[in-house]
């Protein structure tokens, strides 16, 4: 058991080492940090409450850059490696395909997290410069940290989506599907809202089915609560975190199952 965990750890470490050499990551990192700096510039164009502008734009920039990283890394480290057959020597070793998937996933997630944590540090530094402007309320650093944690949780789900589509399709298919699925994840509650207004029983059932099948990213975003100084650490956010982790775990299990049945020959 320990050997298997160690093997997955080695695989994750190798994935990080390979991914970190990818120049596109640096591009995305610069893009994210650039947007965070831009938020400070934009905040000078507003009247009052600059803290809100900086917080809002910085965290959105991190989420956007982190999502693109998770998708590209997830697709690149599994689907592309299979296409290029560079994954074969690894798969020939005494390691199960499930362990391969989990090791790769952990590598993808670690690389994404390293970059995202750098952006988070930049955003926190920037927000700290404006904290005096939070009015008569002290800036809700606890809520800010919970929002960052949720951002990491969302990225874990995005990475699991990318890994899932990489296990049974080409890299192009995996990329398009991952992007589509992630984008759709922001519409699930809207989709349900619209389809539930339909008079057709079938459409309503489809709406409900899609709502429960696709990830609900809107539920995992406490940024509006942070912005409006509402309580964040509530039972509903706790349930949302458990839901997201269970969702990612479910996709990983499914990925491991599908990959173990895939004919690579």
């Amino acid at each position: 058991m320990i050997n298997r965990i160690l093997a997955m750890g080695v695989l994750a470490r190798t994935t990080v080492a390979e991914a970190i050499r990818d120049r596109i990551l640096y591009g995305l990192l610069l893009f994210g940090i650039g947007l965070i700096l831009l938020s400070a510039v934009l905040s000078n164009l507003t009247v009052g409450f600059r803290l809100r502008i900086v917080t809002d734009i910085s965290l959105s920039a991190i989420m956007a850059a982190g999502t693109i990283m998770a998708v590209l890394l997830g697709v690149g480290s599994i689907a592309k490696e299979i296409e290029k057959k560079t994954a074969y020597p690894l798969l020939a070793k005494p390691i199960s395909r499930g362990e391969y998937i989990i090791g790769k996933y952990l590598g993808v997630l670690s690389t994404t997290y390293i970059n995202v944590l750098l952006m988070m540090a930049a955003a926190t530094f920037m927000i700290a410069q404006y904290r005096e402007e939070s009015g008569h309320h002290a800036y809700a650093w606890n809520a800010f940290i919970i929002t960052l944690l949720f951002l990491l949780i969302r990225l874990a789900v995005v990475a699991s989506v990318a890994v899932f589509f990489s296990t049974f399709g080409s890299s192009t298919f995996a990329l398009i599907s991952s992007v589509g699925f992630t984008v759709a994840g922001y519409f699930t509650s809207e989709l349900r809202f619209f389809l539930e207004k339909s008079e057709s029983e079938l459409l309503r059932a489809i709406g409900k089915g899609l709502y429960y099948t696709m990830p609900d990213f809107a539920m995992l975003d406490p940024l509006p609560l942070l912005i409006h100084n509402h309580p964040i650490f509530t039972p509903s956010t706790l349930f949302a975190a458990v839901y997201a982790l269970a969702y990612a775990l479910c996709l990983l299990t499914l990925s491991a199952f599908l990959f173990s049945r895939r004919d690579l020959g």
């Binding site: 809002d56 959105s60 922001y186 809107a218």
Partner: protein, 295 residues
């Protein structure tokens, strides 16, 4: 070498062409603005795009807020009446219904342009969605000062006085507004209700003082009416307040614990109390108030 030079020249030509058309397009747009006399903004329908912004509603609202601030700072737009301010404010608040500043800024600026109906439209939307006390306060000002509708003014001011975090003077304003609209009883009832809702001892003491002032004001108003009845009945002004006993109707005689403080000057026929620094003036009732009351 020649190929490199040619490639470089080609890049320069393409970049120059792009720059030329960019400048040309920009100048043309400026002329169009001058022709239409209005600064054109792209303002999508907030109710539609809020479904398609990938969960980034607050960020998008921020970006449009920055646009609103820039729009307000455009002299041309200001001179022409800021006709796109209301749609822009609606867009921002559709994206983020709790965007308190957007309601406040739009409400205030529209008021300054004497577009009170539009100002009330955005402020009433704000009062439904935002918890800022300033929003009902501005509404009260619009109704009271601009539309002379004291009943609605007092209604919104009362709402502002109930919002946590409002300044304490708001409660005093509510009383005066009710008093000036001639409904002193309502002011007293509201103050008593506020007293029950207020846990802060400091604020309770302030409210008790205001209740005392309202009681004295009520006494003064009753005495003034009793004096008028006395003068009509006897054909002369009363020499002292004691003369009123037995002449004025009993319901007009003061009952508050502070009535002993009342002082009457028979020469000027003025009644006052040293416990009340400033009387609640009763303004002339104007049409909207009368209409609102009739409704």
């Amino acid at each position: 070498m020649i190929m490199r030079l040619a490639s470089f020249l080609l890049v320069v030509v393409i970049a120059g062409t792009a720059h030329f058309f960019h400048i040309h397009s920009s100048r043309s747009a400026s002329r169009e603005i001058a022709i239409t006399n209005e600064v054109r903004l792209f303002i999508p329908d907030g109710k539609s795009i809020r479904h398609f912004c990938l969960g980034q509603r607050t960020t998008l609202a921020d970006l449009f807020w920055l646009k609103l601030v820039q729009y307000l700072g455009t002299p041309e737009a200001y001179r022409k009446g800021l006709h796109q301010l209301l749609p822009l404010a609606h867009l921002i608040t559709d994206l983020d219904p709790e965007y308190g500043y957007a309601y406040m800024a739009a409400g205030l600026v529209l008021n300054s342009k004497k577009r009170v109906v539009e100002s009330n439209e955005i402020l009433e939307k704000g009062a439904q969605n935002s918890s800022r006390w300033e929003i009902p306060f501005y509404l009260a000002f619009n109704y009271w000062y601009e539309l002379k509708d004291y009943i609605q003014g007092a209604h919104w001011l009362k709402k502002a006085a109930l919002v946590p975090g409002r300044p304490t003077y708001i409660t005093g304003l509510v009383q005066r507004l009710y008093s000036q609209a001639g409904t002193l009883d309502m002011a007293k009832q509201f103050t008593k209700a506020m007293l029950e809702e207020t846990p802060s001892e400091e604020h309770r003491a302030e409210l008790l003082q205001r209740l005392k002032e309202l009681d004295i004001e009520e006494d003064l108003q009753k005495i003034e009416r009793a004096l008028a009845i006395f003068e009509k009945d006897k054909g002369r002004p009363a020499w002292s307040l004691e003369e009123l006993i037995g002449i004025a109707p009993p319901h007009l005689l003061p009952f508050s614990p502070y009535h002993h403080s009342l002082q009457y000057d028979p020469l000027t026929q003025e009644v006052k109390s040293p416990l009340l620094e400033k009387r609640f003036a009763l303004p002339k009732m104007e049409e909207p108030v009368i209409e609102a009351r009739e409704k």
